[in-house]
Symmetry: C2
Subunit: 538 residues, 2 copies
């Protein structure tokens, strides 16, 4: 598995952030009218000076620059603070006073001291960023510093030469030009998000937490098959998970590749089951039957623990049968039983299809039949999918029960649409859950409704200035965070990269999409940089 | 010029600092009763934990340690702050809110982020310290960190095998045991101060500002001849200064070795002149006549600009004849005319002695005669040495006029002692100026008074816990600083290392000193570490 340095990216402009009532984050990056990037090597910065470089695009890599001293002499060290911003908030809010319940060591700033100039400063750590804020903490009265040859050596499993289908969107009818531009942007940002998360494994986010989770991996792999088509990386990841099975043969929710391959202590019931679906998807997409055979025993064992939550008499999933962490979304208070019933059934069916591809016996045929029946009996109430003793209605549960295809399509469709218009239904908090809503809508034949969500939800991030899609997005709250402080959010998060999958497969005709040829990742980057830095006329 | 890594130093104990009314800094390092150093690899530290390692001795070098994670998983980076303390204040006051008019980039802290453990963390920058405070800014709830194999690779031009004369002090009469211990400590700390400042050049201080100044170089070279005897390093430094002469052939007050050898823009009239004395001292101590001949033209030219301050009619030095920075001490408001008259005359006489050694002609014979006469005429008033229109009395001026030997010895002695008992005399602020007071006392035959100052002033630093002597020491104010904040003081500063010179040469008989053999720097270090960490019985 080669990690490619896919070229040296350079800053595109020096920016300032101006207040804006219409900008999602309340600030908008504009080209500095005071400083021009081409003058950077000649600009001298002293104590408490501060500026922001815009690289024009989100990237993952290692930063280096040449620091020179300007003035009489460099008669003291120079202390710099570098803040690597994925979002405008990272570089405008400062890094002080962050209240978060996860580690503040994730915050994207570095303080460095340089003793002698000129020096080629090469940061060893990998960073994920578009904006680089440089704060000169101090020089001395005798010298200032200048920056030149600022470069990010970009890192990804995907080289700039990798090609994806070029798609033309926009023959969908009314207001076609606008659609064209928005959908093209959504598609590109999806691919760029995926690319930046593809490292030696499929990481959830290259800034945080740089680790592979099964639920995220499933979505990444699916988008990958529709775009970048790196089957080798998926195969590597599947075998890594199989290698770290737990004592009871269940799979950890995530794993650590370094310092040595090891399972995380995190266990998520649903992520365990999803391994079966990921293997099926992989074999179906790649045709790699041999790997499927090797992984088959792990597929069977990953279903065992989730199936213990199925009530032996009712055949309905009952979340109270165990203590394992159950996860469909970060939205607080979701009762997961109905959704997990759907998810486990979905995974059983994936395993059933895999067995057919591999021509091996499948031991859960009867369970699929039983759970199909139990789905309606246990969770369908007044045409709505409900979960738990309080008959909670949630987007997450409705989506997964629909995805399991346990209900007749018309019933599923009606229940799903009724949920979406239900005022008290628990809404998703994450793009992860929103994807399953969209996917369920497609399964239920509701292409228009799916496209509306793609346009409004992912389109909302585009309008807010996203270069990559985010871990969490609440259209009503730019400071929303699952971790207590938005500065610890990940703004390039793979579980949000699925629009490309939908737009390039099930929605392609709907949006009037046509494959017009091929384009390389390098071309895609170049075009996006041009689009995001149009104001660079200073 | 080899820079030697003279071995790996390890921490001696984990310390805490307890309040103490009798301690100069108000705190005293004591061995931790909670943590034992030998348990360090097994101690786990999490968010906001904080501890101090005591290396037992001041050292200059690069730090490395192995960081391991303890607990379930290292699922986030670890952020550490390291504070390299020369004094207890560095590691107890914190590094926030420093108000200093020089660069805060000198402050001895580093913030580092470690992504994956175990990792051998190797800091690239050189630090000068005895205490290492480690603050764990954050880990995560899933892991803590442990430290092992903490090592400082020590750096100096002087290896641990270099030998110095072992001296026994203490046959001086009353209370001999006490004297013995104090003088031995003063002598050792002087040598250790010098050693830590001897790098590729004679640095003023290895923490700040790591640069060679002519006034400091003169004292370092003299102590070096009496102790470590590294003639090669002095020669290198003399030729470096000669190489960076200014356009008018005067010499800069200091120079920069990196990135390329260059003169500082700082010019100090007195430092320029002192070059002549340094070359004379070097040739006299080393016998290296050849180098003296090469440097002779620079010796003549370094006197030119200082001599322009000598009034052509009175032959007295007049500070108002030019705008150059004049420096005898950091004490504010010193009128330097009388002292600079003495200093320039002193340097002329050194050049005269050098000319005789080199057997070359000397053009300033007549000037020496004239300035000898002018010394008393211009600056002797009522038996006191006075300077400027207000007839200011200062230790610094009295010392340098005595050092010039322009006055009859009895006159000089009386004037000097009268100055020392004069209530309004401007006192020295720095060990640099105190040294010249002591040296003048020796020239005037006042060994007892000199020894009193060595005992009280340098002994005061020993009693305050010094492992190396300081840039500035005000017995009345532990927070005194020439730079506004004591945290930017240098606590290993070569201009304070002269007691060894005095104790091993002019004062040797007086203090009952006898050379008893040789000891290596390694032995000296070991003995000092034992002495400073006696409380390590935890």
């Amino acid at each position: 598995m080669l990690l490619l340095l896919h070229g040296a990216a350079k800053p595109q402009r020096i920016v300032t952030f101006e207040s804006s009532d219409t900008a999602f984050f309340g600030v908008r990056a504009v080209a500095s009218t005071k400083y021009n990037l081409c003058d950077l090597p000649n600009l001298a910065w002293g104590k408490e000076d501060d500026f922001v470089l815009d690289f024009g695009i989100h990237m993952v890599g290692t930063l280096s620059f040449t620091l020179s001293s300007v003035g009489e002499h460099m008669d003291s060290p120079c202390r710099l603070r570098l803040i690597f911003g994925e979002s405008p908030l990272d570089v405008t809010m400062g890094m002080e006073g962050v209240k978060t319940w996860i580690s503040t060591a994730w915050l994207p700033d570095e303080i460095i001291n340089i003793d002698i100039c000129p020096e080629r400063v090469e940061l060893q750590r990998r960073h994920a960023f578009r904006y680089l804020r440089i704060q000169v903490i101090d020089t001395s009265s005798k010298f200032k510093v200048a920056f030149s040859d600022v470069v990010c050596e970009c890192i990804s499993a995907i080289s700039q030469e990798v090609e994806v289908d070029a798609i033309s969107f926009g023959d969908a009818g009314n207001d076609s030009n606008k659609d064209d531009e928005l959908l093209r942007a959504i598609d590109r940002v999806s691919i760029m998000t995926l690319r930046d998360c593809m490292q030696t494994v499929f990481e959830d986010g290259p800034r945080r937490d740089r680790r592979m989770w099964l639920g995220d991996l499933r979505l990444q792999a699916l988008v990958n098959y529709a775009t970048l088509k790196d089957f080798g990386l998926v195969k590597r990841c599947l075998f890594m998970f199989a290698a770290v099975a737990r004592d009871d043969e269940s799979l950890p929710a995530c794993l650590f590749e370094k310092p040595t391959l090891s399972a995380s202590s995190d266990y998520l019931l649903e992520y365990d089951a999803l391994f079966a679906a990921i293997v099926y998807d992989y074999v179906a997409a790649s045709g790699d039957i041999d790997s499927g055979r090797v992984l088959w025993s792990t597929v069977l064992s990953c279903l065992r623990r989730p199936l213990e939550y199925v009530d032996p008499s009712t055949k309905a999933f009952d979340k109270t049968r165990g203590e394992d962490w159950q996860f469909l979304d970060w939205a607080p208070g979701v009762d997961t039983s109905a959704g997990s019933h759907g998810l486990v059934l979905y995974c059983l069916k994936a395993a059933q299809k895999l067995a057919r591809l591999l021509r091996v016996g499948f031991p859960h045929e009867h369970m699929i039949t039983s759970m199909n029946i139990a789905a309606a009996e246990a969770f369908l109430h007044d045409g709505l999918i409900v979960s738990g003793p309080k008959k909670q209605v949630s987007y997450a549960c409705a989506s997964w029960l629909v995805l399991s295809e346990a209900l007749p399509r018309s019933t599923a469709r009606a229940a799903l649409l009724k949920t979406l218009s239900h005022e008290e239904a628990v809404k998703p908090l994450t793009p992860y859950a929103w994807h399953h809503v969209c996917d369920a809508l497609l399964v239920a034949g509701c292409q228009d409704e799916c496209l509306d969500i793609v346009r409004s939800y992912w389109g909302g991030m585009i309008r807010a200035g996203a270069d990559t899609f985010w871990e969490a997005y609440d259209p009503a709250d730019p400071l929303a965070s699952p971790y207590g402080d938005v500065r610890n959010n990940s703004f390039c998060h793979a579980w949000s990269c699925t629009p490309s999958l939908m737009l390039r497969t099930q929605l392609l005709d709907k949006v009037g999409g046509k494959v017009t040829g091929k384009m390389t990742m390098g071309q895609l980057d170049d075009q996006w940089v041009k689009q995001t830095t149009r104001t660079n006329s200073a």
